[in-house]
Symmetry: C2
Subunit: 208 residues, 2 copies
DNA sequence: TTATGTGAACCATTTCACAGCC
DNA sequence: GGCTGTGAAATGGTTCACATAA
């Protein structure tokens, strides 16, 4: 069964929350409590969790550690994905150092940039190569996923170069532009300023 | 009329695209072309744009500069929102330096952190204060919006302190945790790692 | 003839309401 | 009695299809 995107997103949230609850020694939690902590309806939580079999106990709730392991299994990766990050600017470096980007599911093996100050050095322990050599490095390392933090002006150019190398399966795009890829490349985007635009738009509406 | 969130998100995209098209000297564009460039259906583009009156010309398309100004008006802010950024780590600094965070719509007037290396200095020209003095600074400067880039572990604590100061209308949360606020505070979140999780989840599904 | 604007149909997601089990 | 699991209903958003205007 195809799992809807909003559901996957919430599964990640449940996973994080359960990790925290578990570390606090919590044993059991109800859909209502989860909902309160994540600002979701209890029925939403139950429906999400029910897609993967009956994991809760009626009249009791969900066993924290058991549910955590269960969701771990759903979100688990069959392998460690080989990733490259393209564009080692402030944002790229911030991501490299971010706790959320340390994971068992992937391994950032290469960085690409055009800045001579960075090419040839290691950043956070990862070697930085010149964009001109990206295609061969991608093939050599078997890179399958790209984190794109290059400036908007060159984002599409980078994507064209990288996908032409072959083997790229997915791109996580941080540039505030929409990029075009071959249909077999999955793209997800994080637009760091569009949420601020939305916030201000709806705040304006509240001011009257 | 209430405008749906996905529509506001796309309006921001149209706005960016039109700015670019205008700078390239483009005069007219059709819903079909806009759709192609942003990976949207033409009908979606037309519906979005029609919410705000008839702005296109039947048989012709949309006049680029006119549509750009039109959307500018829709997204316009009645004032420059006074903002503070909380948590001057790598991510916070990356945002401060990001082009997308320079805008007519707001003004980042204060930074808050607990690091003695940062408190009392200016970062990107903005003064950094200690979190302990946040409440008084927020009241003094009339801060209404918070960009939260503090570590997850203290995110909720920060939110409680900040909202208690009064006057806070909205929070843009970059911590990968869900935060709880009084109902009059609007919260939007940018989760920099959840999109990567989704990407890997669906890539796994494609591998078979 | 071409491309917009829009009601209606469609599809996806959320919420309800209650049966089922602990 | 309490809380999950789940069809059914409601809601929200997208796409279609065509009337309408340049």
């Amino acid at each position: 069964m195809r799992i809807a995107e909003p559901t996957v997103e919430r599964l990640v949230q449940y996973h994080r929350l359960l990790e925290q609850l578990s570390s606090e020694g919590r044993k059991v939690v109800s859909s209502q409590e989860i909902g309160q902590m994540l600002s979701l309806k209890a029925s939403q939580v139950r429906k999400d969790l029910s897609y993967f079999g009956e994991i809760g106990k009626r009249g009791v709730g969900y066993h924290v550690d058991r549910l955590f392991e269960h969701i771990s299994g759903i979100l688990a990766s069959p392998k460690k994905w080989p990733i490259a990050l393209v564009g080692v600017g402030r944002l790229g470096e911030a991501l490299l150092g971010h706790r959320a980007f340390r994971s068992e599911k992937f391994d950032i093996q290469a960085l690409f940039d055009v800045d001579p100050e960075k090419v040839g050095t290691n950043v956070m322990g990862i070697p930085c190569f010149h964009m001109d050599t990206a295609a061969e490095e991608i093939r050599r390392l078997g890179i399958q996923v790209i984190i794109l933090t290059a400036p908007s002006s060159v984002a599409q150019l980078c994507v064209d170069t990288l996908t032409a190398a072959g083997g790229i399966r997915g791109i996580l795009n941080f540039s505030p532009v929409s990029i075009v890829t071959p249909p077999d490349v999955l793209v997800y985007s994080v637009d760091i300023s569009v949420e601020l635009e939305k916030l201000l738009f709806y705040l304006k509406g509240r001011e009257e």
